[in-house]
């Protein structure tokens, strides 16, 4: 079995290497075949492993290779395969496979074809290493590797200034998060003296009583809280939570398949996955959970609001991603980890679907992304239309679609939570449902319904090489539509896994508490379950249909319907309301359009501040002190000394012999007199 486990991440790596290093030799077709084959192998093996783990209950936790042992700390590569990680593997490899296939169609004119396939396969490898890890070191490796690949992919069109700016921004913002993450891992290492998950989880509870995390003389902090918050800062960066979310909308500068793969379905969920994986740590700290609730709820609602005023089709979806990630984070904060991970899964399917559909529209519109210049595409692109509809319904949580189950679950969980931040979070996630429905269907109606606002004659001279297709938009080729359909299926039905996954004991081993593996004592477990809103809810649960019926009567459904109706009314029926609102609440629109001025704030305070601080330091500290004195001074001193010392080497034999004898004499004297 270990060979199979190992083959899962290595197959995409092989594809990436083949396409990346030998791309010219194997050609375009060779590149996409080898990478698709690699990911397909990974997917099939994941299915097999998932069957083994979920079906037969053969979970695995073991070390494959010991990289180094330093002072009794083992740095290892190992896999932990339980229900949580195998589910992630399935999602990652499936979405990645779909994106690979889709890319053949989307990128077929791009000169960087092989490079692109190499990158996305490399990304799949990194993500698999991340989710399969059984220790913090490998987790960090995967974490950084997906960050790196995401950097490369956002800047894939490296001749485009905005893309370079965006990938720089993504990289820098992620650095902030990673800094916290790294500190968190360091704290884990410091207090647990191991990086292995199981051992760490076993030791963390013993630290929960000790308040001796000292930073300054008189301040002592609760250790698990410090660790949890530091780790969560990492998650905030990767999963784009306020205020470290600013990179995600800009990352839409990358090609659309990437937006689907990385910035919707997989990479951004790494933070959610990590927190779920670390649940034994987070459970020990109310403070951390409250913080997570607040951050998540803020992201969920306020980022959704921005989505309303965006006109770029991909940016609307991007803000929707931010908002949905906020929902997942809220679920984590409410200790409903399984609900969060469940939403992660359903969201991966329908958000990848929406992105790929957006990409399909973009192809049809000859790379026009402004939704104000679309409209009425329904009749030209039936497959894209229907799959988009499915995706949107899933996103707003229409009963029966996958998003409904997961989102309702989260809202319920927050409702049940006893933490003090739960009230705030509950209000925002409820309002968020309305907002979600509104911006989703605003986009949907603007793109597919209404008047045709696109310019049918403006593309004769476009530089993308579409020729001979006529002037009207048309449906995309099969490599694009097949993944859409393949993703639409789980977007509808993944929700019905609710029964086994959340309410049952599916994640019991991975997420909550496993007495045997994690070594929790029973007292702690009962304390833990008091936290767990899910358990509370399970008691009131009466099957899927009951859940749907219950949902039909609950406020989220009506809020979603209201949002849908509002969008319909404003954008299809009568746009005077929109204009009225725009006139009345222009400040609000501006505020949202400027994204709460966060970018400007970052730009002016952090970026400019850093630059001027850097300039100040440079002109005095660097040029005078460091360059003049320390660096050049040291270099000059070394150079001077080196020049002097080389003259010791005279070339005369008797000098050499003298040096030996002198050495001997010195040592003899040393021993004689000291």
């Amino acid at each position: 079995m270990e060979a199979i486990y190992l083959a899962i991440p290595l197959a995409p790596l092989f594809g990436a290497i083949a396409a990346g290093l030998f791309g010219k030799k194997i050609g375009r077709a060779g590149a996409h075949w080898v990478t698709i084959l690699g990911v397909a192998v990974a997917f099939l093996l994941s299915v097999y492993v998932a069957y083994d783990v979920m079906g037969n209950g053969n979970s695995y936790n073991g070390t494959v290779y010991t990289w180094a042992v330093i002072a009794d700390i083992r740095f290892e590569i190992g896999f932990m395969l339980d229900n949580l990680s195998t589910m992630m593997m399935l999602v990652v490899t499936f979405v990645s496979l779909m994106v690979h296939i889709y890319t053949i169609g989307y990128m077929h004119e791009d000169p960087g074809y092989q490079r692109f396939f190499s990158y996305i396969s490399l990304f799949t490898f990194s993500m698999l290493m991340l989710v399969m890890s059984n220790n913090f070191l490998q987790l960090f490796f995967g974490w950084e590797a997906v960050g790196l690949v995401s950097y490369l992919l956002i800047g894939f069109w490296f001749k485009k200034d905005t893309a370079i700016y965006a990938n720089m921004k993504a990289f820098l913002v992620n650095r902030v998060g990673d800094f916290g993450f790294l500190l968190g891992i360091a704290a884990v290492l410091l207090y647990c003296e191991t990086l292995d998950y199981v051992q760490v989880f076993a030791r963390i509870p013993q630290l929960s009583g000790a308040n001796d995390f000292k930073v300054f003389e008189d301040t002592k902090w609760h250790i698990p809280t410090v660790i949890a918050i530091l780790l969560f800062i990492g998650a905030m960066g990767k999963s784009a939570q306020v205020p470290l979310h600013v990179w995600l909308p800009d990352s839409m500068e990358g090609p659309t398949p990437i937006s689907a793969l990385i910035h919707a379905a997989t990479m951004v969920t790494a933070g959610i996955f990590m927190v779920a994986r670390m649940s034994p740590i987070f459970e020990l700290s109310d403070t951390a959970l409250n913080l997570i609730l607040i951050i998540g709820a803020t992201t969920a609602f306020f980022m959704g609001l921005i989505g309303i005023v965006q006109n770029d089709i991909k940016r609307v979806v991007a803000y929707s991603t931010l908002s949905q990630l906020g929902y997942m984070t809220v679920a984590l904060g409410a200790s409903a980890y399984s609900a969060g991970v469940f939403h992660l899964m359903t969201h991966a399917f329908f958000k990848a679907l929406l992105f790929l559909a957006a990409g399909s529209v973009i192809i049809a519109m000859h790379h026009e992304q402004d939704i104000r210049k679309m409209g009425g595409l329904k009749k030209y692109m039936p497959i894209t239309y229907w799959t988009s509809l499915i995706g949107s319904l899933a996103l707003i949580g229409f009963p029966g679609f996958s998003g409904f189950f997961s989102k309702d679950l989260i809202i319920e969980a927050v409702h049940e939570s006893h933490l003090w931040a739960a009230g705030y979070a509950y209000t925002l996630v409820l309002l968020g449902v309305f907002v979600t429905a509104f911006y989703s269907f605003r986009m949907f109606f603007l793109v597919f319904h209404g008047k045709e606002r696109f310019d049918t004659h403006g593309h004769g001279h476009d530089d993308h090489g579409h020729h001979g297709h006529g002037d009207k938009p048309h449906e995309s080729p099969w490599v694009v539509t097949v993944p859409l359909i393949a993703l639409a299926i789980p977007s509808v039905f993944a929700g019905y896994l609710l029964d086994p996954m959340v309410v049952g004991s599916f994640f019991k081993n991975a997420i909550f508490v496993n007495d045997a593996a994690h070594g929790f004592d029973l007292g702690l477990k009962s304390w833990l379950s008091a936290h767990l809103a899910i358990e509370h809810m399970s008691a009131e649960y009466h099957g899927v249909m009951g859940f749907i019926l219950h949902g039909l009567m609950a406020p989220p459904f009506w809020l979603a319907m209201a949002g849908l109706a509002t969008a319909w009314f404003i954008y299809l029926k009568d746009d005077s309301l929109a204009r009225w609102a725009y006139d009345k609440f222009r400040w609000l629109h501006t505020l949202l359009d400027r994204k709460y001025y966060l970018d400007d704030f970052n730009q002016n305070v952090f970026a400019k501040g850093s630059v001027s601080l850097g300039n100040g330091l440079w002109s005095f500290g660097e040029r005078v002190m460091i360059d003049g004195f320390v660096v050049n001074g040291a270099a000059k001193a070394v150079g001077w000394f080196s020049g002097v010392m080389r003259h010791l080497q005279t070339g005369y034999l008797y000098h050499y012999a003298f040096s030996m004898v002198a050495g001997i004499l010195l040592m003899l004297t040393w021993f004689l007199f000291f």
Binding site: S642, Q649, L653, M660
Partner: protein
Amino acid sequence: MNIVIAMPEIFLLSTICLILLLDVFLREDCRMITYLLTQVALLATALLAYGAMDGEKTTGLNGMYVRDDLAGVLKISILLLTFVVFVYARKYLKDRTIWVSEFFLLGLFAVLGMLVMVSANHLLVVYLGLELLALSMYALVAFNRDDGRSSEAAMKYFVLGAIASGLLLYGISILYGLSGKLEFAEVLTYVSSQNVLENIPLLFALVFIVAGIAFKFGAVPFHMWVPDVYQGAPTAVTMFLGSVPKVAALAMLLRVLAESMGAAQPGWAQLLLVFGLLSVFLGNLIAIAQFNLKRMLAYSTIAHMGFILLGALTGTTEGYSAALFYTITYAMMAAGGFAILILLGREGFEAETLDDLKGLNERNPWYAFIMMVFLFSMAGIPPTVGFYAKLSIIQAVMQAGYLWPAVFMVVMSVIGAYYYLRAIKMIYFDKPEQTAPIQAELDFNILISVNGVLMVLLGLFPSALMGVCSAAMVASRL
């Protein structure tokens, strides 16, 4: 009378005699046969040494000789490294008019000397092996008879080497005068019964013995021969001298200091600390001022040997394993680095200044990449093996409680990185001054590629070799 334990050496000696006789009866144009036989002999001996590794420690030949896993590991390293070096050397010798069999025969005798040193269980046997190695080396350094620098280097090496072996012998004689013993186990019994730091005659013996060992390593202040010999000797000989005998020197250190005088560790550790720190300091600093590549590598060797001495002085299993790991991997990268120099040279032209590296990337990107790997590895930059080697040494030194020496080593590594990076900069960013094509035969190409890739692979997966090193130490109870 257990002569089986010396089987690899006996086999090698017989083969050398056979090759020697065969060679004098062969025609000039059949030198290739001598070369091939030499290589086969090396591999066969390595196989014998491998077969002799049984996890046991067996002494024999009246207690003068020992066979254990440590000896096995060291012998296999020496033999395989020599094999690689000879493949590289063949190109050098063939390109010039010195394609003669004496190079390989003298090399084989040197190897025999090293094997004897490795397996010695008696101070005189150590000395015997050492002299066989040294005499072969003197002759090899003077190998290119028509070159004045080569002869000068050999002369210096010989005179200083004679002084050093005199010192060593003097130290051994003092020790013998004190204890009446020369066999390791008996010497250890004597040393253990003494209060080392109070026993001035014993300390004097230590000073002389350590001086002899330090000369072999080329540690400051016994380093003066290193730059001159490295520069003067033909590059093929420099490559041999700069890689394989380092393993034998470490073997001598382990046998003589760690094994037979382990109880005197507080004494010799002080000496090694001074010599090691001086080597790391001077080696790295003076290397910066060098523009001759061979001299630069010579000073870099001095610095590396300082690291090895510092690792060994800890007197712990970790320290010894780290030193062994460092030595083996260093020998690999040094052989590779000099091989690239051989590659750059040709008939009538020796590549030995830094300028000769300029624009290597434009001339041949693959060789440029491999050279970069070697230089990175010497500088100790991850993911190459040099990083892990340095890390494990510093780790061992810190664990043994030498905090400030460890800090000093780190600082010196940073300074040392400068001149390696300068060479890399020349390889990649400067315009080439030479335009002659760089080419080599298939075996050379394969080996140098494997050598380069190994530097990275061992850096990523060091635990295999590290495991072997520490297992050998444990088996030899060091």
